[in-house]
Assembly symmetry: C2
Homo-oligomer: 337 residues x 2
DNA sequence: TTGTAGGCGTTATCAG
DNA sequence: CTGATAACGCCTACAA
């Protein structure tokens, strides 16, 4: 491994001079600069980041924590990650991804990277850890929550207003004439899901439709869960005329189950999803859904984290970005679109 | 930031003693060990990895390079990553993911991490870089190619035999009575795709079916590409009775286009995909495909990289793992399965 | 404009 | 069994 000294020897200068050239210091004569540059190229010198980090105590690396790579939101997360990356590059940072794959101990191990200062901060897209753990971590290290968040941790968050988004979606169903509206939620109790349930209830309330607990089903947040829960709805005496699903994956299972039962979509039963993921756009019927500005979410998360790293104290603790209702043929007849 | 010295002072011992306790050295009396442990806990001491890396010149971190997060192979890659992770943990390593998102410069920047010894080695799942670049990198740093690979780089690889796999798949189509077999490939010229085309040709040759270049279409490797290319086939005078697609995403577009045209699957046209991704398993019809042992691929890649890191010189340069043909209703009538 | 010296937090060597 | 010391590669006062 070639170090500063080697370059210095080759160029006939001192190590500090080489260091200054590496850092583009202004007080270096053009000639020595050229000489050193040549030596650097010739030896293919690369600075040792561990040494630099040890000295400077920051690494310009941000860690992004993710529960799992395998879900249908992935196509959207990819866009979110792009937002993080572009913003990071703009500020001279790199983003590395740490997919925990549902293992809490692994998440703790990844956090060693920030504990031991190998990365400067953490963006939690979601987490396997409980609120207590997260609160402690948030107190000790620079952290941001992006999209999914736990308010009681005190860690700054960037997200859409999930309550309002669900309210908009259910409001749309109500406007298109539905009064019996079912909801397929998940057994997994995270912020976005709890809030979407809340939005559903608020929308009903504002339309003076009594809330019926039996109209919310809780299953797995995937295609098969959607099929299963929908079949429960289809078996009811007084089945809903519309179903609001907390994800597009569930919604796609839902449309499949409905189509399989011989009912028409949206005439006999309307379906709405969430995320505007690729699942909502492919196949028939295209699904009405809510789009999150994922690129912006990612960018803002990085921006936010960097401002924390810079020591800005008075930054907003909770940033909310806008969402968008996307109406498609699963709730409105094609001719009407 | 609390360091060894702080702990040492608190425990009333020297820094080296604390270091030894941290590394579980055998030659330390139980009492001092206990004393030091207590101080460590009390101060919530975390070793500074940069310092340790500087000293020891390895970091026990492996970097996994990935071209993009957003494709339908993702559900399978997630399993592959799990394989990497489990093997890494077994050897005391961590794996971080570096999604390049189609940006070659970003890939080069990520490679700074290994250049500057912040990670010990790289697993390329795929790459934006050309063969020349990769060869240079492979010469300088510990690298492995996993799944996708470029033979001329000289970087060790782990993958299935794509030629044989395609041959098996097309062979299955021939066995089920097809003589006019189309192929939908991609404009993107990577090893797996080139090899699958080769397997297609070999299968035809062995069955004495003349190869017709017009029977291979080249499009985008996604759902929409599948629809587009299939429509080209459907418009042909002498259209194929079976189509072999290089990915499940293409194959799903293909089945949609065929179903949309009113033809029956598999009676009028059979369809085969590749990867056994979630796209092949959801919806109707379930698609005949090839399954790669992705978990094993990931594990072996890490195993391989670690043995290189240990200095083992005489390791196999090209490891091939088995694949599996999965026959489903897109090629064989349901009753026959 | 350049060089010298000290130290960042660890670990390994050597002496006790 | 434990402590002192040097060194890893880099950066930055300070001195020249």
């Amino acid at each position: 491994m070639v170090s500063l000294k080697d370059v210095a020897r080759k160029a006939g200068v001192s190590a500090s001079t080489v260091s200054r050239v590496m850092n583009d210091s202004s007080l270096i004569s053009p000639e020595t600069k050229a000489k050193v540059r040549e030596a650097i190229l010739e030896l293919n010198y690369q600075p040792n980041l561990s040494a630099r980090n040890l000295r400077c105590s920051d690494t310009k690396i941000i860690m992004c924590m993710l529960v799992s790579l395998s879900n249908f939101f992935m196509t959207e997360f990819s866009e979110c990650f792009l937002g993080m990356r572009d913003m990071a590059v703009k500020h001279g940072y790199k983003v590395i991804l740490c997919p925990v794959e549902l293992n809490r101990d692994i998440e703790r191990e990844y956090l060693d990277l920030v504990r031991s200062r190998l990365v400067d901060g953490v963006i939690f897209v979601n987490s396997m850890l409980g609120g207590d753990d997260l609160r402690k971590i948030g107190k000790m290290y620079p952290c941001v929550q992006c999209s999914e968040y736990n308010e009681e941790t005190g860690i700054p968050s960037i997200s859409i207003n999930n309550v309002q988004a669900a309210k908009d979606l259910v409001g749309h169903l109500i406007e298109t004439g539905h009064r019996r509206i079912g909801m397929i939620s998940s057994v997994y109790r995270i912020s976005s899901i709890i809030q979407r349930e809340e939005g559903y209830k608020q929308a009903l309330k504002e339309a003076r439709i009594p809330f019926d607990p039996g109209m919310i089903k809780y299953g797995m947040n995937d295609y098969n869960g959607g099929i299963e829960m929908t079949n429960q709805f289809l078996g009811m005496d007084n089945r809903p005329t519309a179903i609001f699903c907390i994800s597009d994956a569930i919604a796609r299972g839902c449309t499949e189950a409905i189509a399989g039962s011989g009912l028409r979509i949206p005439e006999d039963m309307a379906v709405a999803g969430f995320d505007n993921s690729i699942m909502s756009r492919l196949y028939w019927p295209k699904i009405t859904t809510v789009s999150q500005p994922v690129y912006e979410l990612g960018g803002k998360a990085v921006e936010r984290l960097i401002s924390i790293l810079k020591g800005d104290k008075d930054v907003q603790n909770k940033i909310v970005v806008g969402h968008q209702l996307i109406v498609r043929e699963s709730t409105v007849k094609n001719s009407a679109l």
